[in-house]
Symmetry: C2
Subunit: 345 residues, 2 copies
């Protein structure tokens, strides 16, 4: 690995520069990606290894980030199972037949390695093109976040159907979440075996829950997932948004690094998580739609809060917005790499 | 005042029972409200004092809550100014011409007492009907939350346009927020002078911001608002959702009580806010769509966390969902009123 900064940070080892990558760095903010999208849908890109490798590498080439993240979608394990699920531009995942009854859950079958052979092919092609320049991160949605899309049928503000199922039918909920825990574990295992050097688990929407509900309705199944991949030799980042009150509970479940959003000051989060874990974050991605002076000010504030301690991976607190100017991203990578913590701070 | 529990709690005085009311208690969850809505739109109700009084009292009669909250909308001060703004069923506030340029801001005029004479009339009629049974709470959206609707033109998930304006044009933002601060102060003053016994400021969406952004772009204007109403002799509740990282900053601005959502355990929030303030919350309103056992379990957990200390007002963490069964609400009021904290806990 020519640039092991992200992996070193996940192992809390010192790095010459603070490592940086961006969630959704491969995507609509890059003109070269939009060009590919003129010919291929999102899911087509995931099914053609050379195109997937190309799209995954675009931000590495243009921005100089310290990691590639496999171009895919958090819903891919469910799509691989044959669910009628589409990623609709400007909307998000849309499920043709929402999962709300015991029978819907039982209709979900286990994930077999051959279901995601195409992802393994993507990874092989990407690793070959990357040629060890930076690590390749694989990922999946976490059980709760996948369940929320399955139950709602589409992105939701309040997760009404999900919470109603959880409260009213804990038996169905348990079956659904256990099942998703196994599916996600199998999917992450397949990615690790295909050669990704790190994994990120996106529990993007878990911040909609109270701590009690997280502990009761989510943690056991996320734990099942982490237990199911404990033998893998790759570090794992455990990410969610709006998780200010869930940080300890998420850390207890697992993750070499915890990914946070901008809603909590980085040093407050890191202290609560504990210094024996890496931390990833936490610029509001919409800051990147503002002028450079604001990007610089807010990014420096984050770097100052991390204080140059080993284990900080600079990132946005949620995916890059499609309207982001890639020049802004490139400049931010330079800022992060050029940052020198104030001595004695 | 026959039932001063809410006012006593806001002054940290002991109460015989934990006081309880529900945000959006007057609304679609009640059949008697839906009946009124067959004849009148939401904004019509706000313009006919007898109907407004009737709707405001419906939950007091049916549920036995310890406060009435004037039937109105957080956007009412802007509607009173003549903005082309509609409250669309199932959507929320929709602004015909979003406010994004300096000229749009300058077109907003100050709020004069005569603009909201109809609200004063509503309050007089409601107070007469209430006859001192429970206190009447008046309210308004806070400057940031009003600004977010004005700038976005409609409810938003990510507040993209709002943040972009804030970052890119701090001059326009400052003018807009100062202006809204003055408008909201004048509106709350008019309500206090008409006789409401408490006020609630809804900064519902401020939890979308980082602490730094709150301190820079919101706090000065919310402070301006609180300064503008400091001489009023009514206690104020300062509410927001997703505010886990903003609690101290919100408290520093003002509020005899701080309203929180379910995303932070109540005792954690109260400790951070300080015991010299009252706290209001914090049941996830969607719990009320679940079975009674879950409502009971989650509500008791909140009451246990408050520990019977003076200054807790039981409430939901955001508005009641229209699908909520009113029997569930009534039973919850009984549970809260019947609750005895465990001695020595």
């Amino acid at each position: 690995m020519q640039n092991p900064r992200v992996l070193n940070a996940l192992h809390l080892r010192p790095t010459d520069r603070t490592p940086v990558w961006f969630m959704r760095q491969a995507g609509r903010s890059l003109p070269e990606y939009r060009k590919v999208r003129e010919r291929h849908s999102l899911l087509e890109i995931c099914r053609i290894p050379e195109v997937c490798a190309e799209v995954t590498l675009q931000p590495v080439r243009r921005l100089g980030v310290d990691a590639a993240i496999l171009f895919a979608d958090i819903m891919l394990p469910l799509i691989a199972l044959g669910l009628d699920l589409d990623i609709v531009e400007g909307v998000g995942p849309v499920v043709a037949r929402p999962v709300r009854e015991a029978n819907d859950v039982r209709a979900l079958r286990p994930l077999e390695p051959e279901d995601v052979q195409f992802v393994a092919d993507d990874i092989h092609a990407t690793l070959e093109t990357l040629a060890g320049a930076v690590p390749l991160i694989g990922f999946s949605g976490a059980p709760f976040t996948l369940a929320s899309y399955l139950v709602e049928g589409k992105p939701s503000r309040d997760f009404l159907m999900t919470k109603r199922l959880m409260y009213a039918r804990p038996d169905i909920w348990e079956e659904l979440m256990s099942h998703l825990g196994r599916i996600v574990a199998a999917y992450l295992r397949a990615q690790a075996e295909a050669g990704v050097q790190a994994l990120q688990i996106f529990d993007s929407w878990v911040g909609a829950l109270s701590l009690d509900d997280y502990l009761r309705y989510v943690q056991p199944y996320t734990r099942m997932l982490f237990d199911g991949i404990a033998d893998l030799a790759v570090p794992v980042i455990h990410f969610g948004t709006g998780t200010s009150s869930l940080l300890e509970a998420m850390r207890d479940v697992g993750g070499d690094g915890i990914g946070i959003d901008w809603r909590i000051p980085l040093e407050v989060a890191w202290q609560r998580i504990g210094r024996d874990r890496a931390i990833q974050g936490n610029l509001d991605p919409l800051v990147l739609l503002g002028p450079w002076e604001v990007v610089e000010r807010e990014s420096r504030a984050i770097l100052d809060r991390a204080g140059g301690r080993p284990g900080h991976i600079f990132n946005v607190g949620h995916g890059i917005h499609p309207q982001t100017d890639p020049d802004q991203l490139q400049r931010l990578v330079e800022l992060v790499h050029g940052y020198e913590p104030v001595k004695g701070a």
